[in-house]
């Protein structure tokens, strides 16, 4: 059971780490890049598949050379046998569509075709949730989204999943797809290991991965657009149909207020309080 996990580097939005300028714009240079937090659920789902069914896990990302660190983080924090970085100036400034084309091509270029591709639910910066479904569409694969638990039936060649459907009512839907399939994990995804042998293997892999993550470059492959045989007109900024018209910060409530202490025994003061409150009381 071979799995690929798609991941993206995003600004570390944790309080105390992220840096904004006076106008509320993100200071990219001051804010470190980390693995998109939601992608860790995807990596955990891939690890569960490896533990239960064997096979390798490849982490894949598209981004500048520095994203090698994001892949290392993914390998160290969850698990990865190896990693692929799709990196090229021609790929830069891509929207979700151009990104989907690039990563779908990256997956198809792998020596072995995966049985499962995992992606996290939304990136912390773009928050579109489009790239996964679009990549699945590019590959013409079935896609299961909002997955909270996962079971692979190797004999039947299918993946069964429970998905969390949130709307007016919260529902858990059980779905099935033929392999190969694309799985988008929900932040509520929980891996389950009901056999001791799986927990022991999980422990082995976690120990192993720490060492490998240190030396991730030895198991990292970097592909540019030529390696992928992609026309620069269809990727990166040139291949992106999305135009962002502007970004407006949502105004925050002012953090300062004026307050006056009034002693309840001060009748003049209390009169004034009543006077000031009257307009809000719906009275005359």
């Amino acid at each position: 059971m071979y799995s690929v996990v798609l991941t993206k580097g995003v600004p570390d939005f944790r309080e105390g780490v992220v840096s904004f300028d006076e106008d509320g714009h993100l200071e990219r240079g001051e804010t470190p890049t980390v693995m998109n937090p939601n992608d860790k659920h995807a990596a955990r789902a891939a690890l569960q598949t490896k533990v239960r069914h064997g096979g390798d896990v490849t982490l894949m990302s598209m981004g500048p050379p520095g994203y090698g660190d994001v892949l290392r983080e993914g390998m160290e924090d969850v698990y990865g046998d190896d990693c692929v970085l799709l990196s090229d100036r021609e790929m830069a400034a891509a929207d979700t569509w151009a990104t989907a084309i690039t990563v779908a091509t990256g997956i198809q270029k792998l020596d072995e075709q995966p049985d499962l591709v995992f992606a996290g639910f939304k990136t912390a910066d773009g928050e579109t949730g489009h790239t996964g479904p679009q990549a699945a569409w590019c590959m013409d694969w079935p896609i299961l989204t909002h997955v909270i638990s996962l079971d692979v039936d190797e004999d039947e060649g299918v993946v069964r999943a429970k998905r969390l459907v949130q709307g007016d009512v919260e529902e858990i839907e059980t779905v099935e797809a033929e392999l190969p399939a694309f799985v988008v994990t929900d932040p509520e995804f929980e891996p389950t290991y009901r056999r001791a042998e799986h927990r022991l293997l999980h422990k082995d892999l976690r120990e192993e991965t720490q060492a490998r993550a240190e030396d991730h470059e030895s198991v990292m492959t970097v592909w540019d657009h030529e390696d992928l045989n992609l026309d620069p007109d269809y990727i990166g900024l040139d291949g992106s149909p999305t135009i962002v018209g502007g970004v407006d910060p949502i105004p925050k409530a002012p953090s300062e207020r004026e307050a006056t202490d009034v002693d309840p025994t001060d009748s003049q003061g209390m009169e004034q309080v009543v006077e000031e409150l009257t307009p809000y009381a719906g009275g005359d």
């Binding site: 290991y193 009901r194 056999r195 001791a196 042998e197 927990r199 022991l200 422990k203 082995d204």
Partner: protein, 558 residues
């Protein structure tokens, strides 16, 4: 379904010293061994006094099984041992290092989180090579029993696992021992309860204040009138840079006196004798509690059933005879002997009529002298006479009379008291009455003691602060109160170490309910602050289970 079940040759439940010893011997003999531990890490659920002994007469010691143990997992070696008889501010102390040294190869103070987590890593390394290993965060909650035979274990977090040997090293509250009907939780007389504070000291203070060197350690025991007449005593053990200060009482006595365990601990902590240890500063790192089986009464003489063997506290293997307090060493020996028995029985499997692993284990416990230490014959004889109320009353009256006091003075001048305290023979004779715990030490303290002049100004934390400082990952309630009447379960309000009368933040609370014109006193339970000691299982009417794996209290010191 059974075809799909996991199977290991041996499943060891609990990764404390008993489980670790069993795992070491099993793994070294190539037995595929799975160790299941309930805590996030071994030690996170464990509390001990704690001194661990290596006895000269024992066939196994922890450092033989786990080289490097003393250098890496323990605190200080205990190089001096004292007992203090307290009467008010008067204290008479005796050096009983000789007693401590008797049959002792070495003895170290330990903190269980550090010790057990160290062991866990070694256990995992060794058992992994056999195809097993240590899995943490798993609550083993029962036995697979088919046709009346034990086939394996059931767990909250894992599917049932079959095994040829199940080692229940799951501690004093062993759910497996109870399910197999080998142990029960009925009589408070069969248990002690201990509470402990781990206290931080500035660097170098242990050496200065106890007058010991860098590689030395001290143990101090306390008995007398400082515990409201409750039968038991206190201790102070030196760790690297902390102290373990605790009190241990007979559970029946705690219940009878309606004493609050945390207050008895405070009585020790604030006694003027301890002033010099704290120097006015008190920084409590952790409050903890534990139930302790009294091996004289409950050490199981045949701790096995089918494929199941009990070791350590789960089998009641905790020796507390006067100043001799040994548990972990017996757990180590028992665990190793159980493993040895399994290996031997497996080798001769082909021949029928051979004893089972359990029967061999039982035989070894007797032959290696473990049972003799846990249930000394001498105690049984002495107890038959000495634990009668009439005898206790008479002895106590004589001791408290001028004649008794004269006798004590005379005995002391002849060195009889010190040598009696130092006698392992005498310790094993000691009856479980007020006399040795309260009356005699008080009389000794009064008649012979020197007045302690130091002023102890420290203020130990209140119970709600102690609970607040503990780390919990609260899961579903794990204890069910079966009878909420005060008559059935009221004793828990005081005896529970994290509850107290007129305290709303504990596990057990006393409430008065008015119904149809009459008032009823009832007990309510909230398991959130539970430290999983098991006291309420004995003194109240409950359905008591451990929390799920990784849930409940997490000790950092232990």
């Amino acid at each position: 379904m059974t075809d799909d079940r996991e199977h290991y040759e041996a499943v060891v439940v609990g990764c404390g010293p008993g489980g670790a010893a069993a795992a070491a011997v099993l793994a070294d003999n190539g037995v595929e061994t799975l160790v299941l531990e309930r805590g996030t890490e071994a030690g996170s659920k464990n509390v001990s006094g704690g001194l661990i002994y290596a006895e000269e007469s024992a066939p196994y010691t922890i450092d033989d099984l786990y080289p490097g143990f003393r250098e890496q997992a323990s605190e200080r070696p205990i190089t001096e041992y004292h007992i203090h008889n307290v009467a008010g501010n008067k204290v008479k102390s005796y050096d009983i290092t000789d007693l401590h040294d008797h049959d002792t190869e070495w003895s170290d103070a330990v903190l269980r989180r550090k010790m057990d987590s160290w062991l866990e890593r070694r256990v995992h390394e060794r058992t992994r090579e056999t195809g097993g290993g240590v899995v943490t965060g798993v609550h083993v909650d029962g036995l697979i029993q088919e046709d009346g035979e034990v086939k394996g274990v059931t767990c909250e977090e894992l599917d049932p696992i079959e095994a040829d040997l199940v080692v229940a090293a799951d501690g004093v509250n062993s759910e497996l021992a109870r399910e197999a009907n080998l142990m029960d939780w009925e009589e408070p007389e069969e248990w002690f309860q201990g509470v402990k504070a781990v206290v931080d000291l500035p660097e170098g203070a242990v050496e200065d204040r106890f007058g010991i060197g860098a590689d030395e350690g001290a143990a101090h025991l306390f008995s007398g009138d400082l515990f409201e007449g409750v039968r038991g005593g206190g201790f102070v053990y030196t760790n690297e840079d902390t102290l373990s200060v605790g009190t241990v009482f007979h559970l029946d006595s705690l219940v009878a006196e309606e004493a609050e365990p945390h207050e008895l601990l405070d009585a020790l902590l604030t006694h003027p004798m301890l002033a010099e240890y704290f120097d006015g500063e008190y920084d409590e790192l952790e409050y903890s509690a534990k139930l302790v089986p009294d091996s004289k009464k409950v050490a199981h003489t045949s701790p096995h059933r089918g494929r199941l063997v009990l070791v350590g506290d789960a089998a009641g293997q905790m020796q507390a005879q006067g100043p001799i307090i040994k548990g972990m060493n017996h757990a180590v020996t028992a665990g190793a002997l159980a493993a040895e028995a399994f290996v031997e029985s497996r080798a001769r499997k082909s021949r029928k009529a051979e004893p089972t692993a359990g029967e061999l284990y039982e035989r070894k416990l007797h032959e290696e002298g473990v049972m003799g230490k846990l249930r000394p014959k001498r105690y049984e004889v002495a107890a038959a006479l000495g634990e009668r109320d009439a005898v206790t009353n008479l002895t106590d009256r004589v001791l408290e009379s001028p004649v008794g006091r004269f006798g004590i003075k005379a005995a002391d001048s002849l060195g009889i008291i010190e040598s009696a305290y130092s006698s392992p023979f005498m310790s094993m004779l000691m009856p479980d009455t007020k006399t040795p715990y309260v009356t005699l030490p008080t009389v000794i303290g009064e008649a012979l003691g020197d007045r302690v002049t130091g002023e102890n100004t420290i203020e130990p934390p209140a119970l709600d602060d102690r609970i607040g400082d503990l780390t919990y990952d609260v899961g579903d309630p794990h204890i069910e109160l079966l009878d909420e009447s005060y008559a059935a379960s009221g004793a828990a309000v005081s005896a529970c170490p994290v509850s107290a009368q007129d305290f709303g933040g504990g596990c057990y609370r006393s409430e008065t309910v008015k119904t149809n014109g009459h008032e009823e006193r009832v007990v309510s339970l909230d398991t959130q602050p539970c430290v999983e000691c098991g006291t309420c299982a004995v003194v109240a009417d409950t359905d008591w289970n451990h929390p799920a794996g990784n849930k409940g209290v997490e000790y950092k010191q232990g």
